[in-house]
């Protein structure tokens, strides 16, 4: 068969859109005599510093507090909505917890300007679990209202998915999916920058 692949050459990459010399993959400006590598792009010194600044901001306690506050608010909202949904159904609609994981992790990640990091992933997973556990609230609500030892009952609510695992393994499985989704979604962008790399003598400069 005659195929378009027969004419391919693998000496040089030919781009569908013209590549202007060595331009910064973030701001488009010429990189000058050297460049850095970040998420597979060549970046200039100014953008490298912007990446460092973003990372420093994400590591700050203020950033974590903001993510925790926004994430907890979202998890609480999702958890209450999920509990209301469960109150009107004979069985839990655990598939909702995957959506909770998605929403909570998205909010946590956005709070860090998408930088995120391991502790934000843990935060998103914990908040997703807590919101998912609220699906058991309708069953425990009569006891929570009556009991003098409410702290213990709230503890029971948090432990409910684990305690009920033998009776409803599929529900726990789906909550696990939700937590995994939160972990995956809150992953953020790798912030490792490598370089500098010399553009080399005689290399064409970007215009």
């Amino acid at each position: 068969m005659t195929e378009p692949t027969a004419d391919l050459q693998f000496e040089h990459a030919t781009y569908e859109q013209a590549q202007p010399g060595v331009a910064c993959g973030m701001c488009g400006a010429p990189v000058g005599g050297e460049y850095w590598q970040w998420v597979g792009r060549a970046v200039c010194v100014r953008c490298r510093d912007r990446v460092f600044q973003l990372e420093a901001d994400a590591r700050s306690p203020q950033s974590f507090a903001r993510a925790a506050l926004m994430g907890a608010g979202t998890a609480l909202g999702c958890g209450v909505a999920y509990a209301v949904l469960c109150a009107f159904r004979p069985h839990q609609l655990a598939i909702v917890t995957i959506g909770i994981g998605y929403v909570v992790a998205t909010v946590v990640r956005k709070a860090t300007s998408n930088v995120s990091g391991r502790r934000y992933q843990v935060l998103a997973v914990v908040l997703t679990y807590m919101a998912s556990a609220m699906g058991y609230a309708p069953a425990l609500w009569p006891f929570i209202k009556e009991s003098p030892d409410q702290i213990s009952l709230y503890g029971q609510l948090l432990a409910a998915p684990v305690v009920n695992a033998p009776d409803a393994p599929l529900v726990v499985l789906i909550i696990g999916f939700g937590m995994y989704e939160a972990w995956r979604r809150a992953q953020g962008i790798p912030m490792t920058v490598t370089g500098p790399y010399r553009v080399g003598a005689g290399a064409p400069a970007a215009r």
Binding site: F10, H12, A13, T194, G195, Y197
Partner: protein, 346 residues
């Protein structure tokens, strides 16, 4: 954090190239040019020999060495879509003698009805035997075998027979994914079981388009249907409630997997369906849920219809995927329904 990292010098212009780059940022010379030339030659040779799976797998490897946005990449992706369509029957395979249908058509014409039946039988038998070898695949992989044993043991308790049967059914489901992925030349690991949760197959590459993705996604429930049916047949034949429980649970797990959310198989299957096809699947699933009084098919149907409001449906759709999705959404609940009735009557 900034780190120094391995670098190479461009043979064309002498610029330093970061280790993760696939071409020189200055002159765009491809870092893996020689390897790409070799792979392309291999892929073309496989195409000429009619080994489309090898050709597709080899082209897929070239994508890992080509920067995105290049014309080379776009051309190869186009070729991969053509090969994928030929593999799953959406496009005719090229005939070596220049005629559509090639050797088989000639033989059928020469041997009449009996010959046609033989060839049809062969056409059925060859894929069955080719796929059967995949069933043994994971059993020779130590991590799969060990994780299966742990999975069955952890779940086992006083119902070890049930858990062994269910583990086998889940294994068949996962092998369905592996077999179809490999048919498209996609590298995938053998199934790994996670005690208390389920099993997974890790893809090392990704399907080229929605048609491939839908078929690889629905292959699990399709093979799972075979496993559930065998368990049901066994339960009926020898009067084993354990086998019937396996059939019912396996079918329910497969229906759960057809829910089109997240990374579940149904979500992958839905990607190849047009709006109209989605409506058909959604309505059929709800109807099955109502008739069999099962929640899970109804949930599948409601979410299929609900997703009409979010995201784009496939512009052209895929009749074969539609037929497969419909069959799965009807036959799995039917299998669970029959098994449950037999358990109830036992």
């Amino acid at each position: 954090m900034s780190t120094t990292q391995e670098r190479s010098l461009c043979r064309g212009c002498g610029a330093e190239i970061a280790a993760s780059f696939l071409d020189c940022p200055v002159c765009h010379r491809l870092v893996h040019g020689a390897e790409l030339t070799r792979l392309a030659a291999e892929a073309r040779q496989a195409e000429e020999q009619g080994d489309l799976t090898t050709a597709l797998g080899t082209w897929r490897k070239t994508l890992e060495l080509l920067p995105s946005g290049t014309t080379q990449r776009a051309t190869i992706e186009g070729q991969m879509q053509k090969l994928g369509a030929m593999i799953d029957g959406r496009a005719p395979r090229p005939a070596k003698d220049g005629r559509q249908g090639g050797k088989a058509a000639g033989v059928i014409a020469g041997t009449g009805a009996a010959g046609a039946m033989l060839i049809k039988f062969k056409a059925l038998l060859v894929p069955v035997l080719a796929n059967a070898k995949f069933l043994l695949l994971g059993l020779f992989k130590l991590p799969t075998l060990l994780s299966m044993m742990v999975f069955a043991q952890v779940g086992g308790g006083g119902h070890l027979g049930f858990w062994i049967g269910l583990t086998a059914a889940i294994y068949v489901h996962e092998i369905g994914h592996v077999a179809t992925l490999r048919r498209y030349g996609i590298e995938a690991s053998a199934p790994m079981f996670v005690p208390g949760l389920g099993a997974l197959v890790r893809m090392k590459q990704y399907p080229t388009d929605a048609h491939e993705e839908a078929r690889t996604g629905l292959a699990g429930p399709l093979w799972g249907l075979f496993a559930s049916a065998v368990a049901l047949g066994l339960g009926v034949a020898i009067g084993s409630p354990t086998a019937l429980f396996v059939a019912s649970t396996s079918a329910s797990i497969n229906v759960f997997n057809l829910i089109p959310v997240w990374q579940l198989d149904g979500s992958r299957g839905l990607k190849a369906l047009s709006t109209f096809e989605r409506v058909i699947v959604g309505v059929a699933a709800i109807a099955v849920g109502v008739v069999t009084r099962q929640r899970m098919p109804a949930v599948v149907g409601v979410i299929v219809l609900g997703r009409l409001a979010f995201g784009k449906a496939h512009p052209t759709g895929d009749r074969r995927v539609l037929a497969l999705f419909l069959a799965l959404v009807v036959l799995h609940p039917a299998c669970a329904w029959v098994a449950d009735r037999l358990i109830g009557g036992a």
